[in-house]
Symmetry: C2
Subunit: 259 residues, 2 copies
């Protein structure tokens, strides 16, 4: 364990004793970092759009673009994380700012993972072949799930930016739609006939659906961080071990949460 | 955005000007928080053991226990997180300690998610029925994956505690075993005959396998945090968008990373 010294905060320090420029500068830096972090969610929404296009049109080239472009999202994550650490090293923030900083550290991890989920889906695109045996009812649900996920990414961004706890909590209700599609896809794949290609395509779509489900979970996580910033209390909107806290869901993997 | 004042760090502050007791106290608190955080990984390893038992013996009661017991893991997460925020609010740490603090915030999120992954698997146990049509080659691989995941949880804990970057990097190699089993299970399920029960059981095991894969990913994440604490540089050991950086893997979803 590193045993290094530390800089003390002035015990009698208060907002009044801090030079005004210092305070303004800190606030400006923190606001800029928040904007950068929220911008990461815009990058993810774009990447999700492209991923959906790639899946719908078996566009291997576009899928390759999504995979390569994830570097930008990773870069944004590293940039904001470094900015936050550098800010913390220079000045001890008060409790309210600390909450925001802790929430931002979680939020950037969430969008970085959403980027990885786009990559994981895009990697599946070339594996289903040029003219895969598309099952219309399955692909319709994949598209619906993905549009829902994109809308949740936009909603969690808005909720966080506005510190809107109600909008953040609504994400759980939104996420039910994704969970429902996910269960329906499982049932449809189960009913797929004996054609091995059709079965493989269906099982691959099941994997795509699971990745989209995780994007939705990440959006709910950001909603939880929103509530934490506002209230100072961290709680899971739905708890993996207490699914009854949300509207009852029936069937396979009802309401699992968590990454 | 909250606009609150903040307490300044003493600009001329250095280790020498901090009262010795203050420094010792800070260090003791941080060490205690690290031990608590690493203890969360022990709780996860236990929960994974029970989850495996529940899957192997279709033990619905034990699965229910795992689900209920996740509250303890969640509690540990909240406890350490609160402790870290409270520590940060009282004193501005120096850069080395900040790295440890940032890494611990990530680590606790990882073990909290591993707990959720145990819950997600345990929820699948009652769905396969009392006497499911077990495919021996599939269940063997599920067991192998799970034992591998448990060993990775122990390894990432050890690597972090010892600040052992080499041991941390070895987690990627370990994780290849999980990825291989995962691909084999996909292929085996694809070959499953037309019996609907056998097919449903196989597809459910595919979902179990994906959850175990995520436990492994979380262990690799903790390995990355270990390297960050030691070197101050954050990098992904394997990058979702650059799978070629790791030993080449062939087939479906080769080397996807990220939660």
């Amino acid at each position: 364990m590193p045993t290094s010294g530390r800089r003390p905060t002035s015990p009698g320090g208060s907002a009044r004793t801090v030079p005004v420029e210092t305070r303004i500068h800190f606030q400006e830096e923190l606001s800029a970092l928040e904007l950068q972090a929220l911008g990461g969610l815009d990058m993810v929404a774009e990447s999700l759009e492209r991923t959906l296009e790639a899946v719908l049109h078996h566009d291997v080239e576009l899928a390759g673009y999504v995979i390569a472009d994830d570097d930008r999202i990773d870069g944004r994550y590293l940039e904001v994380r470094q900015g936050i650490l550098s800010l913390l090293a220079r000045q001890a923030p008060v409790a309210t700012d600390l909450r925001l900083i802790a929430a931002l550290l979680d939020l950037i991890r969430n969008f970085e993972r959403m980027g990885d989920q786009c990559v994981n889906i895009s990697k599946l695109v070339p594996l289903v072949g040029r003219e895969p045996p598309v099952h219309p009812e399955i692909i319709t649900r994949i598209e619906r799930m993905m549009r829902q996920a994109i809308s949740q990414v936009q909603q969690c961004k808005q909720a966080f930016a506005r510190r809107d706890v109600e909008l953040a909590e609504d994400l759980v209700r939104q996420d039910d739609e994704i969970d429902r599609c996910n269960r329906e896809i499982f049932a449809l794949v189960l009913e797929t006939g004996d054609d091995p290609d059709a079965r493989e395509w269906g099982m691959t779509m099941m994997l795509v659906a699971r990745q989209i489900e995780r994007v939705g979970d990440n959006a709910v996580d950001i909603g939880e961080q929103t509530a934490f910033v506002v209230t100072g209390e961290f709680r899971e909107f739905t708890d993996a071990s207490h699914p009854d806290a949300v509207p009852p869901a029936i069937g396979l993997s009802a309401g699992p949460r968590g990454e």
